[in-house]
């Protein structure tokens, strides 16, 4: 019987929750249970009122000192904000007044006065909030903290070093404090991906699984394998399971170490020529990975999402907030903002469906017909540029004629004047560039270079227009290859034109995220590339291990090629050589 029990206790159990914070880890479980708050009962005497109010004040001051100390070591913005919110709660004038009233008028001791007042807040919250988004932990955490300080009873939030913390629920502050004990992971019985504890775990890179309903099946000291990517938890893993997870961890560590080491190296070819790698992004949430891969700013900030997802897209303030967040998060590097680049049908109810949307009303063509929309975006960009001198660039999509360039420039002057009339003077003159993605622009690159401050090649659309292939059409999609000889020849022409006019040129299309193609572009003379952050480390590695001379040879060969087979062979040789 006893043996049976023991067997069962050692059986492998698989539990599933939600992914809270990515990463895989194995370790010993360490259970954490918050202590129940004991508060005094009974009434105090008149003479004790001052004393009890003093106790409350002291508790507030101590909590504040503790939070401020915690704040000192933090760099992560999310963490700082949450701690600041807690500070704000302790400084709440309403709270102080109400607790004092409880003590003075109802003769309650400080701890029970705090409990009563917080109870009132929590009652209202309970009635108002959606059960799925329980935010009461932010409030109970402060309550318990204050009561503990009043009673001089501070349970040390202690946990064994290097263990996996298992708790029913954690407050953000607890996650931060436990992280100082080097915990390996977090398993939480409650909460979801958007709970504050999960947000903090993510920003501190602690793997976490949350919302594990059966978390209480885990006992103190149990061995646990935790996969924060999937929310899966294995208790008492079998030998084979353990090995599987160990392998996953090894892979993960190796990859991370490699990537981090590589990204920290300077952007230089093996013979010391420098290049610039920037990121293509769309959301502020991507800034973390931008920093991790050490991209030197944003080469392409897509702005469609701000509009497509909002009904009232005239909201200038909202755009500005978004742009500012991106510039704030990428200091001191430049950010290139691309104007709205989508088909008209994404923005407006169109009575007639376009037969050929890719050759239709999109990008700048649509913007020039919807001048208010365009001017609003330009205003938001100009206002942002003013706050971040020398860091912002404007990129216009889907340009096919010079007239369009001149017209957008005129509208930019109008936007500037209108801002001035509203009392906002914008001194910044952000560089103005166009996308080279329509063959007419590539062929007239010299002319466009004369009228712009920079050019950025969008190889995705350029390829589709040069080869007349809709990549979405399965019947012909094998004809679509951005490395086609004709595309390379056109790129060469644009490069020469830009160099002749001394205008900066970059590539922000998919071609730049292919490591061998990136070498070829560099060999051709384009040293500024922008790509998705996940592609950046591999591109960087390829550029770093080769010399500029080798890359120049590569691009010469590529430019001499006539058919895709040639290109494939050259690329194969290049990768095999290394």
């Amino acid at each position: 019987m006893e043996k049976n029990m023991k067997d069962r206790m050692n059986n492998e159990i698989s539990l599933s929750g939600s992914p809270g914070s990515p990463g895989i880890t194995i370790g010993k479980a360490s259970l954490y249970r918050r202590e129940d708050m004991a508060v005094s009962s009974g009434e105090i005497k008149d003479g004790e009122v001052g004393d009890q109010i003093g106790k409350f004040d002291k508790a507030r001051k101590r909590s504040l000192t503790g939070l401020q100390e915690l704040l000192e070591d933090q760099e992560d913005e999310t963490v700082i904000e949450l701690i600041n919110t807690q500070i704000e709660m302790i400084n709440d004038p309403d709270l102080c007044k109400r607790v004092e009233t409880e003590i003075r008028e109802h003769h309650q001791p400080a701890d029970s006065a705090i409990h009563t007042v917080f109870g009132e807040y929590l009652d209202i919250l309970k009635q108002n909030q959606d059960d799925l988004l329980d935010r009461s932990i932010d409030i109970t955490d402060i309550r318990d903290r204050l009561i503990q300080f009043v009673n001089y009873h501070l349970p040390q939030a202690e946990v064994e070093q290097n263990t996996i913390l298992v708790a029913k629920e954690l407050s953000p502050r607890e996650v931060i404090e436990f992280s100082e004990a080097n915990i390996k992971g977090i398993i939480m019985g409650r909460g979801g991906q958007t709970s504050h504890a999960a947000i903090i775990a993510r920003s501190m890179n602690i793997p976490a699984a949350v919302g594990l309903k059966n978390a209480d099946l885990i006992s103190d000291g149990n061995e646990v394998a935790l996969d924060g990517n999937t929310g899966k938890v294995i208790v008492n893993p079998r030998q084979s399971t353990r090995q599987k997870y160990e392998k996953l961890i090894e892979q993960q560590l190796k990859q991370q170490a490699e990537i981090e080491a590589f990204c920290a190296e300077p952007n230089e070819t093996s013979d010391g020529h420098s290049f610039t790698l920037r990121a293509n992004i769309e959301f502020a949430e991507e800034l973390d990975s931008v920093q991790k891969c050490r991209a030197e700013g944003i080469g392409l900030l897509r702005t469609e999402s701000i509009y497509l997802q909002r009904e009232h897209f005239g909201n200038l303030r909202m755009q500005e907030t978004f742009y500012k967040a991106i510039l704030e998060g990428t200091k001191p590097h430049p950010v290139t903002i691309r104007l709205f680049d989508a088909g008209g049908d994404k923005f407006f109810e169109m009575s007639q469906k376009e037969q050929n949307p890719f050759l239709g009303w999109r990008g700048v063509r649509m913007l020039l017909d919807e001048k208010e929309l365009l001017k609003n975006q330009l205003k938001a960009i100009l206002k942002t540029a003013n706050c971040f001198p020398g860091r912002l660039r404007i990129l216009v999509p889907m340009i096919s004629t010079l007239e369009e360039v001149l017209e957008v420039k005129e509208l930019m002057a109008d936007a500037r004047n209108e801002l001035k009339e509203d009392g906002i003077t914008v001194d910044e003159q952000p560089p103005f560039g166009v996308m080279v993605e329509v063959p007419s622009v590539a062929l007239q690159a010299k002319t466009f270079a004369e009228h712009t401050d920079f050019l950025s090649i969008g190889t995705n659309d350029l390829t589709q227009y040069v080869l007349a292939v809709d990549r979405g059409n399965e019947l012909i999609s094998d004809l679509y290859d951005q490395r086609h000889p004709a595309v390379w020849k056109l790129l060469k022409q644009v490069t020469d034109a830009a160099r002749g006019k001394n205008v900066p040129l970059s590539v922000c299309g998919e071609l730049a995220s292919d490591p061998v193609s990136a070498c070829c572009l560099m060999g051709m003379g384009i040293s500024e590339l922008s790509m998705g952050t996940s592609a950046l480390p591999a591109v960087k590695r390829m550029l770093r291990v080769h010399s500029l001379k080798e890359m120049q040879q590569l691009s010469r060969k590529v430019l001499e090629s006539e058919i895709m087979d040639d290109i494939n062979r050259i690329f194969r040789e290049w990768t095999q050589k290394n």
Binding site: E81, L82, T85, D92, P93, D94, L125, N128, L133
Partner: protein, 94 residues
């Protein structure tokens, strides 16, 4: 005294961080500031009060401001709420 209606537009609603931003902004003004929502009335300068409203996206608040700088305060506070507290927009985290 000014009374003005405003709608919460950020996805996560008036949770801790926006509440802190709101209270901080309101604290810069001398006027009294109250928020009415679904029959509740809370002090707009009290973060705990604001948090207990648990105002979600789409919730309509009525702001009540009373004092010498009420006009200026109303403008700044409405702006802050209507800008979504600089928080993420719908679907942005997908």
């Amino acid at each position: 005294m000014i009374k003005q209606k405003v709608t919460i537009i950020n996805d996560a609603g008036l949770h801790a961080r926006p509440a802190a931003a709101l209270v901080k902004t309101a604290g810069r003004f001398k006027c009294d500031f109250y928020i009415h929502m679904y029959g509740y009335k809370v002090n707009g300068k009290s973060i705990l009060g604001v948090m207990t409203l648990a105002a979600e996206k789409g919730a309509e608040l009525e702001l009540e401001l009373d004092g010498t700088d009420e006009k200026e305060a109303a403008e700044v506070i409405v702006d802050l709420i209507e800008s979504g507290f600089g928080e993420e927009y719908e679907g942005q985290d997908e």
